[in-house]
């Protein structure tokens, strides 16, 4: 049996730890690990930027912590993006965030405790970035 938890957020500055606590139309979803769940078995993460800053080049780091994560904070690189000069013409390229899916995560967790999910963009600011992260518990 598995359960899911999804959070979203925006990163608007590099090298800044950003807690992901929203969920679209749900402003404060529960971050409590569902009862009976003992592991994080998958992580799905995506990020895309508006590329409205020149010469952006970043990688994205996911941090999983909180009282539910046994063994301390776990840190995972899940993507990267870059852009040259801000484009203004009709040939501007989009930034498409195909989800990164890690299928064998195997992180021990404590059910009914709280998980803290944060992300960072490390490198040179590419503009605003939107992120979404799903944890699959079992």
């Amino acid at each position: 049996m598995s359960r899911t938890l999804t959070v979203v957020g925006d990163i608007n500055a590099v090298d800044t730890r950003t807690l992901l606590t929203a969920q679209g139309s749900v402003s404060t979803p529960s971050l409590v690990v569902p009862a009976g769940m003992k592991k994080i078995i998958k992580v799905i993460a995506t990020a895309a930027a508006d590329a409205l800053a020149d010469d952006g080049s970043v990688i994205f780091i996911l941090r999983l912590g909180g009282s539910a994560v046994l063994g301390g904070e776990q840190v995972i690189v899940f993507g990267g993006l870059g852009n040259q000069t801000v484009q203004t013409g009709s040939d501007a390229a989009p930034s498409i965030g195909i989800p990164f899916q890690l299928d064998d995560v195997d992180i021990d967790i404590s059910p009914s405790d709280t998980v803290s999910i944060s992300a960072e963009a490390a490198g040179v600011d590419p503009g605003d970035t939107a992120l979404a992260v799903t944890l699959v518990f079992a």
Partner: protein, 135 residues
């Protein structure tokens, strides 16, 4: 064991707003998506999206699964993201993504599928979701 597949699609036009996926291409009213009889688990979710890139912005897309067909309660999944620096540029194509799960289901009960554009409003985004049931 055999599997069964059920699909819905729809278009998101507002940010941070639950939008039910209730159509199926040429079928404008396919009716409720019911868990197949004898299904024991939601074994996987397959999703794809396409944004018209009509706004210079960036957003991430998630889906929600709700309804009496899910006895443990609602589930949520990340399906992707997009952004573009001008409202007049960009074209892309991508394959669907499959996430293997093992979520209990209640046969013959309904599952409602919703999609959302989180972050900034990126324009109009069409989302398709297939539920893969294990028997």
């Amino acid at each position: 064991m055999p599997k069964q597949y059920r699909t819905r699609e729809g278009t998101i036009t507002a940010v941070s707003t639950k939008t039910q996926l209730s159509t199926l291409g040429s079928e404008t009213a396919p009716g409720p998506l019911l868990v197949p009889a004898n299904a024991k688990t939601l074994k996987a979710v397959i999703s794809a999206f396409g944004c018209d890139l009509s706004v210079a912005a960036d957003g991430a897309y998630i889906i929600r699964l709700e309804g009496s067909g899910l006895p443990e309660g609602p589930e949520t999944l990340t399906i992707g993201s997009s952004g573009v620096p001008v409202a007049t540029g960009g074209v892309y194509a991508m394959k669907a993504n499959r996430v293997e799960l093992d979520i209990p289901v209640t046969p013959s009960n309904e599952i409602l599928i919703f999609a959302e554009n989180t972050g900034e409003d990126t324009g109009s985004t069409t989302v398709g979701v297939t539920l893969e049931f294990g028997m």
